[in-house]
């Protein structure tokens, strides 16, 4: 059964196209991660799905109905990206207020205990720490015994311990049969929780697949080295030359280094580093546009004669100066 669906949904703010013909379906029992860099359109998609905004074109559905109809929202719980709680109300009062909207709410004490907020029921929310406020905001999504929760970057600003408490609560909800749509710009968070990932960039769905498959796509490595020119290399998503160093973004750093060595290319100062998610996304996004793939970056400049080393030593015996960091096996 499909609990939430976007069908060719677009959303425009003035001149900016925040979402561009997005198709997403969330089925009952799934735990779906919505992954993307800041400004990719994750929150816009969330806002469409919970009825806060209307799509400029296309359709969104919640439990088969219009999300803007209150009846469609009876079985959802929401945590918005921004934690805005009325500062003068006490924690218990905020919970009671939200509870009043549901026929069979979770008792206040039970809910607060589940999120480690049991001692704070009498405190005014304005006096809570940022992390406590965030946990309360997430807890509120679960008050009405929802079938589907939509959490917009739920752990932003939390320390490691608080993040794990929240993850446990989200997992427990999912294990009981609950459905979760969770947005994040942390790959680790999505890896820790979700089985399915929808990658969003520049308002479009770039990938919708299992965590493993997406990890393979975004598991892009940055191989950087100093070399005069390079042969054709496999798996390179993007090449750029910055201050005399060549940076190659690749999905398979091992194979790239092997090919480099086999080809007998002269190079020095090899480094292999994991990329940030942001870089990986940019690489995917750009490579999906044919014109941008081979385009040199603004930082590139003619470097003839400016190369410090190269060529005074055959590279066959060279050890890479840096081993691949990160320790995660690169999937081919």
């Amino acid at each position: 059964m499909i609990l939430a669906r976007a069908d060719q949904a677009s959303r425009r703010y003035g001149d900016v196209l925040a979402l561009d013909r997005v198709d997403v379906e969330v089925r009952a029992g799934e735990l779906v991660g919505l992954l993307g860099p800041n400004g990719a359109g994750k929150s816009t998609l969330m806002n469409l799905l919970v009825g806060l905004r209307r799509p400029s074109s296309g359709r969104v559905e919640l439990f088969g109905g219009d999300p803007r109809d209150p009846a469609s929202r009876r079985q959802i719980g929401v945590t918005p990206q921004e934690t805005g709680l009325p500062g003068t109300l006490r924690v218990g009062e905020v919970v009671d207020f939200v509870s009043a909207h549901y026929p069979d709410p979770v008792p206040r004490g039970e809910l607060l205990d589940r999120f480690g907020l049991g001692d704070l029921a009498r405190r005014q929310t304005g006096g809570l720490s940022g992390g406590q406020r965030r946990r309360l905001a997430v807890a509120l999504a679960f008050v009405g015994r929802p079938r589907l929760v939509l959490l917009d970057e739920p752990t932003t600003g939390l320390d490691v311990a608080a993040r794990h408490t929240l993850w446990d609560a989200i997992r427990a909800f999912h294990d009981d049969g609950g459905t979760v749509l969770l947005s994040s710009h942390y790959l680790e968070e999505v890896e820790a929780l979700a089985r399915r990932v929808v990658v969003i960039g520049q308002g479009r769905v770039l990938a919708d697949d299992t965590v493993d498959a997406v990890r393979g796509i975004v598991g892009v490595r940055r191989v950087s080295l100093v070399a005069a020119d390079l042969p054709e290399l496999p798996g390179v998503v993007r090449t750029e030359r910055i201050d005399g160093r060549l940076h190659l973004l690749t999905t398979d750093a091992d194979q790239l280094v092997r090919s480099l060595v086999t080809a007998g290319t002269a190079f020095t100062d090899l480094e292999v580093r994991p990329t940030s998610l942001e870089e990986a996304f940019l690489a995917i996004t750009n490579s999906s546009e044919p014109t941008a793939a081979s385009q040199p970056t603004a930082a590139s400049r003619p470097t003839i004669g400016g190369q410090p080393t190269t060529g005074d030593q055959p590279s066959t015996g060279d050890q890479p100066s840096t081993a691949a960091a990160g320790g995660r096996p690169t999937t081919a």
Partner: protein, 245 residues
């Protein structure tokens, strides 16, 4: 409308936790009572009663313009407001709750004016007239509630504060609230019937004592209600549009 009561209760709680906010809307009319009504009209029972009714009108106006104008604009700035729109309830309970809370606070802000009128002046009123007046207060709240909502939904909070302040004094003076009925300076008597404050004040005067309502003022009050309702409705839809369409 149980949810409306829930919303009203929590909005009152939010406001009462900051008592200065309640004090603010009661202060100006109470001060005006002490400085203008007590020394000048305090000894004349009919004059003091009318003057007290004028100050109650003043109080109703300022309480509503400020609490809706500034309150709505500030709420719109808070992320809590969009969150409540994801709850399974339409806009009606929140809106009704706000109006109920507003009415409760309006009555609260009237207490000082009424107490001063009863103790420091010769103003007198029969119990039946008192009840009638209390009902009239709810009626004359309507145009000022709509005016506050129009301001609150169309402006950001910083602009709303300024506009509320700019609007309420000319309305009070221009409507002749600071003069005895029929005794305001000439040009005010000319413009007063066209301001919503005058129609509201005349309804109050006729409730507390022997005053014959000027039809023009009441007709204009009706026109204002229609105009302000249209303006508030337009601002509300435009705001929803900006946020969601």
């Amino acid at each position: 409308m149980q949810l409306a009561l829930v919303h009203a209760r929590y909005q009152l709680l939010e406001i009462i936790r900051i008592p200065v906010a309640v004090f603010g809307s009661a202060f100006f009319p109470a001060a005006a009572m002490i400085f203008f009504v007590v020394p000048f009209a305090g000894d004349d029972p009919a004059g003091a009663t009318f003057a007290t009714a004028s100050m109650v009108t003043f109080s109703v106006m300022s309480a509503n313009i400020f609490q809706y104008g500034v309150g709505v604009a500030e709420d719109r700035d808070q992320p809590w407001n969009p969150y409540t729109r994801t709850l399974p309830a339409g806009p009606a309970p929140r809106f009704t709750g706000r109006v109920l809370a507003g009415l409760a606070l309006t009555y609260l802000s009237l207490i000082p004016v009424v107490v001063i009128g009863a103790t420091l002046t010769a103003a007198r009123i029969t119990p039946a007239a008192f009840l009638l007046t209390a009902g009239t207060v709810a009626v004359i709240s309507v145009p000022f509630t709509l005016m506050g909502l129009a301001i609150g939904y169309s402006l950001p909070s910083k602009a709303a504060i300024v506009v509320a302040q700019v609007v309420f004094l000319p309305l009070a003076f221009g409507g002749g609230l600071l003069s005895a009925p029929g005794e305001a300076p000439g040009f005010i008597e000319t413009i007063a019937p066209f301001l919503p404050t005058r129609g509201a004040a005349e309804l109050m005067w006729s409730a507390v004592g022997d005053y014959r309502i000027e039809p023009l003022s009441v007709i204009m009050l009706g026109v204002w209600v229609v105009l302000l309702a249209a303006l508030a409705g337009w601002a509300y839809r435009r705001d929803e549009g900006r946020r969601f369409s």
